[in-house]
């Protein structure tokens, strides 16, 4: 393991801290926007315009901030791992473009739906389709990222593969998994946002039940596939730290059981929090498996990092800002915590 540098230099600590923080931004994005995207997928299967409007109204105050975590993650990667940013984004050009189209379509639909009358139906569909496309393409990005990509050249290595390198059975599978997982998150979120006697709540109950088993199967499939396909993952999981991953698996199982239990008891907020915990542990396990790779088999964290001076500058000025950012986001979510009546969205 000669490529792993000793963590003796303070700036290498910064590099690791920033890598963890970017992971935090991404997982926050997945947890928060996953629920919003999933609600969009849910709305595709429930074609009642009024209810769709209610779903959109339920995230009116928060969707923008939730989506912004993706931009924050992108900006932080640009700032702290510019070498990865330039090559990774170039490699993921097509799926990222699709993610962007989805996000734009969704943002515009959410924005315009409220003002529209005749064109409202278009924005209903735009919201649903935009959500579906975004979650699928984002899942494809994650799968393609896990596969790594070829880079070459010096002094600065750049991506030298083809535009369609990202497209593999595995990345399509992760795209599909992402849609299922988002659909589950969306259902759980809607149950927490609507009155228990509303139609949306009843539909979301049926929906989450179905999606739960689908998501379980899809995620287990992804784990198994990764185990078989990626030597770096296999080596880590059955290597000397095997007990960490067993423990993580046990925690996920416990959280899953707790979530189901909370769901049955109609403790919807609790169920939503447990789902967040599940995603968080899963993502953390993925990060632990990845270390020291930034992009597996392509770039280590230390290869991709910004040379020390500016990373340190970025850190000193930003680390204080992150708790503040989390605080006002939490405050915002707290203000908009009230449950809605499904048909009360528009008079």
């Amino acid at each position: 393991m000669s490529h792993i540098m000793e963590l003796t230099q303070p700036y290498q600590w910064f590099t690791v801290i920033w890598w963890l923080l970017i992971g935090l931004f991404v997982v926050l994005y997945i947890i928060l926007d996953g629920a919003d995207l999933g609600s969009g997928i849910f709305s595709l299967f429930h074609p009642d315009s009024k209810e769709r409007g209610a779903i959109m109204a339920s995230m009116a105050g928060t969707w923008d901030a939730n989506e912004t975590w993706l931009v924050v993650a992108g900006g932080a990667i640009f700032g702290t791992f510019p070498l990865a940013y330039g090559s990774l984004f170039h490699y993921l050009m097509i799926p990222l473009m699709v993610v962007l189209w989805g996000i734009i379509l969704r943002a515009v639909s959410l924005e315009f739906h409220h003002h529209a009358h005749r064109s409202r139906r278009i924005w209903d569909w735009g919201f649903g389709i935009g959500s579906l496309v975004t979650s699928f393409a984002a899942g494809v990005c994650l799968g393609a990222f896990l596969q790594g990509f070829p880079i070459s050249g010096s002094p600065v290595p750049t991506f030298n593969g083809g535009v369609l390198d990202f497209l593999t059975p595995f990345s399509l599978w992760t795209g599909f998994t992402a849609v299922i997982a988002a659909a589950l998150a969306g259902g759980v979120y809607l149950r927490a946002r609507f009155e228990r006697d509303s139609t949306i709540y009843a539909q979301a109950m049926i929906w989450t039940d179905r999606m739960f088993y689908l998501a379980l199967a899809a995620i287990l499939g992804t784990v198994l596939w990764s185990f078989l396909a990626f030597p770096w993952a296999r080596a880590r999981w059955i290597g000397p730290e095997w007990w960490v991953f067993i423990l993580a698996g046990a925690l996920v199982l416990f959280a899953t059981w707790s979530m189901r239990r909370a769901s049955h008891h109609q403790q919807d907020i609790r169920a939503m929090l447990w789902l967040g915990v599940i995603v968080f542990i899963n993502f953390g396990t993925m990060m632990a498996t990845l270390y020291p790779w930034f992009v597996p088999g392509t770039l280590t964290i230390f290869d991709a990092a910004n040379p020390s001076n500016s990373l340190a500058a970025f850190s000193y000025s930003m680390l204080g800002f992150i708790p503040v950012m989390l605080a006002y986001n939490f405050y915002q979510a707290w203000i908009f915590r009230a449950r809605l009546q499904s048909l009360a969205a528009y008079e």
Binding site: V72, G79, G86, I103, F159, N306, M318, F321, M325
Partner: protein, 482 residues
């Protein structure tokens, strides 16, 4: 094998379209946010419901614009890595950090408060709401600050050195407060205020013109135009100093903006002609035709009657920027700036003569018609200003250090064309949608006699539940039947 120049030009075209369609929104976001803060402050101080209604009305326009800005802005951030990968890697240590600052300190900050501002009416106290509005305005200005740092640094890259293909930062202060930034940021900030104020003035003039709640909108019409009497000439003055800063730090860009080929005339005296119109002939290294006024160029750039202004003949042909776009967009921008200044002056004259009432203005509709038109002019000024700035910077991506051709991603032509078509359609839809809904909101007008309400109209956000009984004690297993 792809043709490298075509690849570079397509990447530039893609990026030009993405940025052109993005810059329509943020300046208006900034200008309107500042306006909204003052309008809301006015309402809280006077408790006059008219100001409340005006605030809520312009806020609706603000929201539409903000959503469009976010949708197009996310695209831009990704476009750096996708279209200009090598540039992103090399400039990452500085440029990436600055964009990182922007997303964390400004963008997220704004997103955190905008939901409170729009949907928080009645959910949070009036002081907290004003605080949220203030933060939206402040964070949007911060956002402009960082973006202008990044862009200006590409024009005047100070405080870095090149090492193993990366621009490493030696001096953060010098890099952030680079020479170009010191005038470019005020220029952009004042442009944002101007665009916001003219937008408010234009919408208000429309309402007065159509006699819909005229007295109410006369307030915003007066307030915005009187502020513009100061802002518009200030913008022209800042623009002049920015021009001189460009002349000092990037003479090739200035020569391109002015279509200025020959440093000296044929008789050996300094060429100080300022061209009103010209058509360049890059192969011959001169203008095919030009109409120039002597001495104006040196007056503009040096504030002296005669001085040497380097022409394009001082630069190697491969270092010369294109001339046509900077030359004409620069002239359109300046003409627009002066036109806006005269509109503000006309308003001042009317005010002085006591003709600034609903009845008097409606008797002389030409002034109102002109103000309505003036809501569109600042957009043209912002577009042409940025086109001037970005095209005159060519062939450099980072001035004097990295050429555009070195910073572009190696992409296939079909991929770039696909990109262009996709974003061309999308940005166009967003743009048309934005204006369509602006029109809708304006036609709808402010809520007549709307009392300060507790929630956003037509969007009740639920009521807080009664404290839930802990269901742990009595499990009710609800199995879905379907």
């Amino acid at each position: 094998m792809t043709d490298p120049t075509l690849m570079v030009d397509l990447a530039r075209l893609d990026f030009a379209w993405i940025t052109t369609m993005h810059i329509l929104y943020p300046p208006l976001t900034i200008g309107l946010a500042v306006f909204l803060f003052f309008a809301e402050l006015r309402w809280l101080n006077t408790r006059d419901e008219g100001w409340y209604r005006l605030t809520r009305f312009f806020e609706r326009l603000f929201v539409i614009n903000f959503g469009a800005g976010v949708a197009t802005g996310v695209t831009m951030e990704m476009a750096f890595g996708i279209l200009f990968g090598p540039f992103s890697q090399a400039a990452g240590p500085f440029f990436g950090n600055i964009l990182g600052y922007e997303t964390i300190t400004a963008f997220m900050y704004e997103a955190g408060f905008i939901g409170l501002m729009i949907f928080g009416w009645g959910k949070i106290g009036p002081k907290m709401h004003l605080f949220a509005t203030f933060n939206v305005a402040f964070s949007s200005i911060l956002s402009a600050f960082w973006i202008m740092v990044a862009n200006s640094w590409m024009q005047t890259p100070t405080g870095v050195h090149l090492e193993r293909g990366l621009f490493l930062v030696d001096d953060w202060t010098a890099a952030i407060f680079n020479p170009n930034f010191l005038t470019a940021f005020p220029h952009m900030l004042v442009a944002s205020l101007e665009i916001g104020l003219f937008f408010v003035a234009g919408v208000s003039a429309w309402m007065v013109y159509r006699n819909r709640q005229g007295p109410l909108f006369l307030r915003t019409l007066t307030a915005s135009l009187m502020a513009l009497v100061i802002v518009a000439p200030l913008q022209i003055a800042i623009g002049d100093s920015l021009g001189r800063s460009v002349a000092r730090h990037d003479p090739a860009a200035l020569a391109a903006m002015e279509g200025h080929w020959h440093t000296y005339r044929a008789d050996g005296s300094p060429n100080t002609n300022w061209n009103v119109v010209a058509w360049p002939d890059p192969d011959q290294g001169t203008n095919a035709f030009e109409i120039g006024i002597p001495h104006v160029l040196s007056l503009l750039e040096d504030h002296r009657w005669t001085s040497v202004v380097p022409g394009l003949d001082r630069f190697a042909p491969e270092d010369r920027p294109p001339v046509v776009i900077p030359f004409y967009s620069f002239r359109i921008m300046v003409a627009t700036g002066f036109a806006l200044f005269f509109i503000a002056l006309w308003a001042l004259v009317l005010k002085w003569r006591g003709r600034f009432s609903v009845a008097a203005l409606q008797q002389r509709p030409w002034f109102l018609r002109l103000v309505i038109l003036s809501a569109l002019l600042p957009f043209i000024a912002v577009w042409t200003g940025w086109w001037t700035r970005e095209v005159a910077r060519q062939p450099w991506l980072i001035h004097g250090l990295m050429r555009t051709s070195e910073g572009v991603s190696q992409m296939s032509i079909p991929a770039e064309i696909l990109w262009f078509i996709g974003f061309f359609l999308f940005d166009l839809i967003v743009w048309l949608g934005t204006w369509y809904f602006f029109g809708k909101v304006v036609r709808h007008g402010p809520e007549e006699g709307e009392a300060p309400r507790n929630d956003a109209p037509g969007m009740p956000l639920g009521t807080l539940p009664k404290p839930e009984s802990d269901a742990e004690t009595s499990p009710t297993f609800i199995r879905p039947t379907a």
